[in-house]
């Protein structure tokens, strides 16, 4: 292998990226060394098993990935703004839309939501941590290193360019030679391990670690949504694991699962991919529903309308998510009967979703709505998500889908679902629980600017794409002719895209501004309207053990009940007992480093390196198994001091 094959060469954009990555790394190293932060970084963050810190690291990585995926999106929009544009060549454009899709789904949306789930769920159910704190750290680090492995592709070796769906035989050795596609396979495989472990971890946490009195039907809607999501993860992710492994065998070891030769079957990949891929859509949208439920209820000062219907709607959606995958390829010629059946199952999903929309509306009915930024994002969600929902039903009608499929109509639809659903939820949830994580709120005035600029940009970007789709513009084309007449709408769409980019920059500025100037919170109930246990902690940012005394739950919306009963949330000295907590561990960090070595080796088919990495992974597993990991106790004195209790 030559150097110019190892490093991606020949494109000024890539050189620019090389330089900026180099400078950023040097900057971070300098900062850590100059301010003597290495020790702090290691003990407070890299070895932590605290669910709140892991959650924050998930969210920080997700915001970084949002930036990366967003830059990809804007590059695409620049290329498409004018007909016959020469800004990007075909190969480069194909790589960018592939990484945009993959990163946004796997390395942005999911970790963002899993991050918020990490921070909030143990607090919401009154637990000290998750069931398996160490495993939680493994989850984070495998996700993180998977994301890094995938991202490194654009400067070393070249990015995958077969689309985030990576249909075979296109993604095979014959039509996509080189390491690019291997990055996709191994990056997702490693990150997938983390996701599966998260699924198991939170299932056990929610089933077994709830505070006394919190029965299943007293759980907050967000906790319910997390529980259901984790069940989907546990059953859907193994399918992805297998699908990726089979394609890896095809590419690296000459197997014939999906290839043109050896009687392989390309349609099998499409089926396996979407058997995971469709549930994946609900994995990223159900927690969003949960968060909106919390926020809408909180800022309408009303309990959620139709609680049980909301829960059952989510359960039905989860069940159906495994029964609709064929609608991603109605055009594969599966026949009239199959298409009819899957048309109908898909449309049926609209019913529970519709029920949820009306329940949200009627949660606000006869309420007292305050228009905080989290609430604005939730209201924006309702308005925009309806468009995503109804166009989804339109796409479900197979005979009509023959005309929408592979067009910008579809692109617009899923962005209305995934941005208005997932991304709005990520923003809303981040702002809502921000004081829980950092002890101060994000500035509301700047936050409203972010909301309006983003919202307008979003609609300006994607409404034209519905029309472009109906005008026959296929997705994933890197250019189009002037004669097609698609130029003006594309230009409009690009303008909208950049407005979203501006909104992101304002959001980043808000992080800085609020860090400098925001008032520090001094109660646990930062918004003053909290309904669930996470707002019942005594300080704004809960201590590492979360609750000095495990709360007892008497009803749904437990904090509202406590407020009505005038319960004093301050713990009594006599009730304080020492608390058992798990030890920090550096093993997950090293394990992920070995995963990186293994993955990187396999990407370039340097099998010796893959084997070295895997041996390293096994060694870390053995070290962990032999570690008695007994944890430690937080002393009563320390708790009293943290809780500022005096005799």
């Amino acid at each position: 292998m030559k150097w110019d094959e190892f490093f991606v060469t020949g494109d000024p954009l890539i050189y620019g990226a090389d330089v900026s990555i180099g400078l950023t790394v040097i900057g971070i190293l300098f900062y850590l060394t100059y301010f003597k932060k290495w020790q702090w970084l290691w003990t407070e963050w890299l070895t932590t098993v605290d669910h709140k810190k892991l959650g924050i690291m998930y969210i920080a990585s997700a915001v970084l990935m949002l930036f990366r995926g967003g830059v990809d999106a804007l590059l695409m929009r620049v290329q498409l703004a004018t007909p016959d544009s020469k800004f990007l060549d075909s190969q480069h454009y194909n790589e960018i839309f592939t990484t945009h899709g993959t990163i946004m789904i796997i390395f942005m949306a999911m970790p963002f939501l899993i991050g918020l789930i990490n921070v909030v769920i143990p607090l919401q159910i009154g637990a000290r941590d998750v069931a398996f704190p160490y495993l939680n750290a493994v989850s984070f680090w495998t996700f993180f290193i998977g994301a890094m492995l995938f991202n490194v592709s654009f400067v070393i070796g070249g990015s995958p360019s077969a689309g985030w769906t990576s249909y075979m035989p296109l993604a095979g050795n014959e039509l996509s030679p080189g390491p690019g596609q291997n990055y996709y396979l191994l990056g997702l495989q490693i990150a997938g391990i983390g996701t599966l472990l998260t699924g198991i971890n939170f299932l056990v946490t929610i089933l077994k670690m709830r505070a006394p009195g919190m029965t299943l039907f007293r759980m907050p809607v967000f906790t319910w949504s997390a529980l259901i999501t984790m069940i989907i993860i546990v059953f859907a992710f193994p399918i992805l694991t297998v699908a990726l492994a089979l394609m890896t065998f095809d590419r690296l070891f000459g197997a014939h699962f999906f290839t043109l030769q050896g009687a392989g079957m390309d349609m099998l990949w499409a089926n396996l991919f979407w058997l995971w891929g469709h549930p994946e859509v609900y994995i990223v949208v159900l927690p969003a529903f949960g968060m909106f439920s919390e926020i809408i209820s909180t800022f309408s000062r009303k309990t959620i309308f139709g609680y049980k219907a909301m829960i059952w709607a989510m359960i039905i959606i989860a069940g159906y998510s495994f029964m609709v995958w064929v609608h991603h390829f109605f055009t594969m010629g599966s026949g009239e009967l199959v298409n009819s059946v899957f048309s109908i199952t898909t449309m049926i999903i609209g019913i529970p979703t519709g029920i949820k929309i009306f329940n949200w509306l009627f949660t606000m009915y006869k309420g007292k709505i305050s228009f905080t930024t989290p609430m604005l994002w939730s209201l924006g969600f309702i308005v925009n998500f309806v468009i995503g929902g109804v166009t989804g039903v339109m796409l479900a009608m197979a005979a009509a889908d023959y005309q929408y499929h592979n067009t910008y109509f579809l692109v617009a639809h899923f962005h209305y679902v995934l941005i208005a659903g997932t991304v709005f939820a990520c923003f809303a949830g981040l702002i809502f629980w921000f004081p829980k994580m950092f002890g101060y709120k994000l500035n509301e005035r700047i936050g409203k600017w972010v909301f309006w600029v983003f919202n307008i940009g979003f609609n300006v970007c994607f409404i034209p794409q519905f029309i472009l789709g109906l005008d026959g513009m296929p997705r994933r084309v890197y250019t189009y002719s002037a004669a097609s007449g698609w130029g003006n709408l594309n230009m409009l769409s690009t303008v909208g895209g950049f407005l979203m980019g501006v909104a992101f920059l304002i959001l980043v500025y808000n992080f800085y501004f609020s860090f400098r100037y925001s008032e520090r919170e001094n109660t646990g109930d930062s918004w003053g309207l909290g309904r669930t246990l996470e707002w019942s902690t005594t300080s704004a940012v809960p201590p590492h053990y979360n609750f000095a005394i495990t709360p007892t739950v008497k009803s749904f919306d437990p904090l509202i009940q406590m407020k009505r009963d005038n319960v004093d949330l301050k713990p009594k000295i006599k009730d304080i007992k020492k608390i058992h907590m798990p030890d920090n561990s550096g093993v997950p960090f090293f394990m992920s480093a070995f995963f990186f070595i293994a993955g990187f080796g396999l990407v370039f088919e340097w099998f010796w390196m893959g084997i070295v990495g895997l041996i390293g992974v096994f060694i870390t597993l053995i070290i962990r198994s032999f570690d008695p990991n007994e944890g430690y106790y937080v002393s009563e004195e320390e708790i009293k001091e943290t809780e500022r209790l005096t005799v």
């Binding site: 110019d4 991606v8 020949g10 075909s90 070249g158 360019s161 296109l170 014959e174 030679p177 390491p179 030769q261 009687a263 349609m267 000062r301 009303k302 309308f305 139709g306 609680y307 219907a309 055009t331 010629g333 009819s340 048309s343 109908i344 019913i351 519709g354 029920i355 509306l361 009627f362 606000m364 009915y365 006869k366 309420g367 007292k368 709505i369 228009f371 209201l379 308005v383 309806v386 468009i387 109804v390 166009t391 039903v393 339109m394 009608m397 005979a399 009509a400 889908d401 023959y402 005309q403 499929h405 592979n406 307008i456 609609n459 409404i463 109906l470 005008d471 026959g472 296929p474 084309v477």
Partner: protein, 317 residues
Amino acid sequence: MFKRFKPFFALGLLLSVFFLGGCSNYIVLDPKGPVAAQQKDLILYSIGFMALICVVVYVLFTVIVIKYRDRKNDDNYEPDQHGSKKLEIIWTVIPILIIIALAIPTVKTIYDVEKVPVSASGQKKEPLVINATAVNWKWIFSYPEQGIETVNYINIPKDRPVQFRLTSADSMSSFWVPELGGQKYAMAGMETKLYLQADHTGTFSGRNSNFNGEGFAHQIFDVHSVTQSEFDKWAKDTKSKAPKLSKKQYDQLMIQGEAKKMTFSSTHLKWVDHAKEADYAVKTRERLGEVPQNPHGSKQKDANKPESDTHGESHSH
């Protein structure tokens, strides 16, 4: 207060203008044949329902958000109201009814578009058969009855159904002529069938709409709809005047690349049926020394450049 929600109103207005106003300008909604017309009808029918749903939700939304915003001296506030059987039944039953109303015509159309289309005059005609084969990044069309073959364009008689037998020599592709009807995949080792018909004469553009790599954006073809007599004349002239397709020429077409329009007086069907021999193109490329190139291995790519340009007329960049 009203001012704050202005964008939402504007959005609704925008939507209705786009969807209901400008229908006839967008090619999917401007069909030139019975299949596309059926699909257009279904689309417009569904847009009607969807617009209704949007209106209901947006009106409710607006009223609730304005009426129940946080005000002083509020006597509406009922914090304990947490459900209503009656309301919940209403908004479960209505969506079910809507789904039924959409499902029936959907299923009917799904079955209809798989049948031989009937022309506006109501008469049934024997369909013309065309084998369409996708190869990265071109379309090869064979007329088995006429014994002729074209690349990147077809002539079809108007008012007569055409049965396309779709297959692919390599990538999964999708055959789509939006003005004539919806798309269907063309896959190696498989044959799928698609019926289309043109009610008018004219030229319609078709393409592969399923992403398949570098030349994807340019994998387009023209469909010329002509009268039956013009078609017959063209077929006859082609059979007698166009050059024969040699196996060597055909194998050159198997190499990845874009191609010009071409016409031949014989078909490739006697050598290979890609629906049965999925690896023909891959093996041919191997035989011709066309090894797959890593797009980022710049040195090797340059070294091979002049060679790949010698593929002659089958290649035009």
